[in-house]
């Protein structure tokens, strides 16, 4: 399983080789261009139990920069930004797979290499007592929390790098 390949950004950018949970490695690009979370909106997506996108609202599509057709059926890690530590997503999956709600601040990668911060909540979709998939709703995060978490994630990433 692979993800759609990002185009090389037009803006000045960095190149990263990201190793994904499913075992493949892929090239992604990052720029310093931040896209602001749209006022008054929520960004919504759902996945199956394996993290494959099954639903996305319009705000999700617009913010990601990918076409709806490119997102549906892709792994949700299509949004993974190299500045995010692995531990954050391990915590997400460990929490929701036991049927519990997860909250966290996430820096997401756009198709054009830009980024956007969200405050995300992920809930398991429990139907007839079984987890059928997961839904995430993102709200506009506060700037102070983003600054705080950005610094923490930098430390966590440094620790992950020196451990590997």
């Amino acid at each position: 399983m692979r993800l759609p390949q990002m185009p090389v950004p037009e803006l000045p950018h960095r190149q990263h080789e990201l190793q994904f949970y499913e075992g493949f490695t892929q090239t992604v690009y990052t720029t310093d261009e931040e896209k602001q979370f749209p006022d008054g909106r929520l960004i919504v997506s759902s996945t199956d139990t394996k993290g494959i996108i099954t639903h996305a609202n319009d705000a999700f599509v617009i913010m990601s920069g990918w076409e709806r057709e490119e997102l549906m059926g892709s792994l949700h890690s299509i949004l993974r930004h190299p500045d995010m530590p692995k531990a954050a997503f391990k915590d997400l999956w460990d929490t929701v797979s036991t049927g519990t709600k997860w909250h966290g601040y996430v820096k997401n990668l756009r198709k054009n290499g830009g980024f956007y911060w969200v405050y995300a909540t992920v809930v398991p979709n429990i139907r007839d007592g079984e987890i059928q998939g997961y839904t995430s709703v993102r709200r506009k995060p506060s700037r102070s929390k983003v600054a705080e978490l950005g610094a923490l994630y930098e430390q966590m990433l440094a620790a992950e790098r020196s451990a590997s």
Partner: protein, 248 residues
């Protein structure tokens, strides 16, 4: 006699419309249906708890309890009528954007929990929360507007449909700071599980409400010009999951 409860957050000018809609519903279903219009969420909760509510036009917040705890069955939802909220100030106030709302300012709101919940979620972006604001309760959205204009608080929370239903004289004295655009959350029509045999018949009656000119007029008077669409069990569950993410 079937009891049909309408959640108490609709604008007062729709009161007659709900009665007209109920008249048509009775004609279409050949059933005696009594409309319950509780004046407050407490009164609504007491009626629900008494077990007498057969059909309910419920707000999304209450849908969770009704569907997940009490087994209410989904019927329909209004088409293109999402529940949105507005954060406003008086035109005479200096506030221009959400960023201008500061800790300890007073916020006028009603008992409507959906509106307060969504308002709080939108204010997180500017580091405001339940604890660092002062809460002033009013008994209706009209009263929120009046008290805002009188300067009794800096900020007011409104159900968007109620805000848009204010007179232009009132609206001219207010300034919108933020209007939500969530689109996935709406009121829903639900049926008590003891009537499961009637689910399809009742659903059809709501779906066909706009099929003739008189029915279409009733819908327009209720601010539901596009009528109703089927609400599946999964639609209801999905909306409840979404509300769940907004609780904290």
């Amino acid at each position: 006699m079937i009891q049909f409860l309408i959640a108490p957050d609709f604008p007062p000018q729709y009161f007659a419309g709900w009665h007209l809609l109920n008249t048509r519903l009775q004609r279409k279903t050949n059933a005696a249906i009594h409309l319950q219009t509780p004046a407050s969420p407490q009164e609504e909760q007491a009626l629900i708890a008494s077990g007498t509510v057969d059909i309910i036009y419920a707000n999304p917040f209450d849908a969770a309890q009704l569907v997940r705890d009490m087994g209410y069955l989904p019927l329909v939802r209004p088409v293109n009528k999402p529940d949105e909220m507005v954060i406003a100030t008086a035109a005479s106030q200096p506030l221009q954007t959400l960023e201008d709302i500061k800790p300890d300012m007073r916020v006028l709101h009603t008992e409507n929990r959906d509106v307060k919940l969504i308002g709080l979620r939108l204010l997180e972006a500017v580091d405001l929360n339940e604890g660092n604001l002062q809460w002033v309760e009013a008994d209706a959205f009209q009263a929120v507007a009046r008290h805002l204009i009188d300067g009794d608080a800096e900020v007011g929370f409104f159900l968007a449909s109620a805000y848009q239903g204010l007179s232009s004289l009132t609206l001219n004295q207010l300034r919108t700071l933020m209007e939500s655009k969530i689109t996935d959350i709406s009121h829903v029509l639900l049926l008590h599980p003891r009537h499961s045999a009637q689910q399809e018949k009742l659903r059809s009656a709501f779906l066909e409400m706009g099929n003739d000119a008189a029915g279409q007029m009733v819908l327009e008077d209720l601010g539901l010009p596009e009528g109703f669409e089927t609400l599946t069990q999964e639609d209801a569950e999905f909306m409840i999951d979404l509300m769940e993410t907004l609780l904290d």
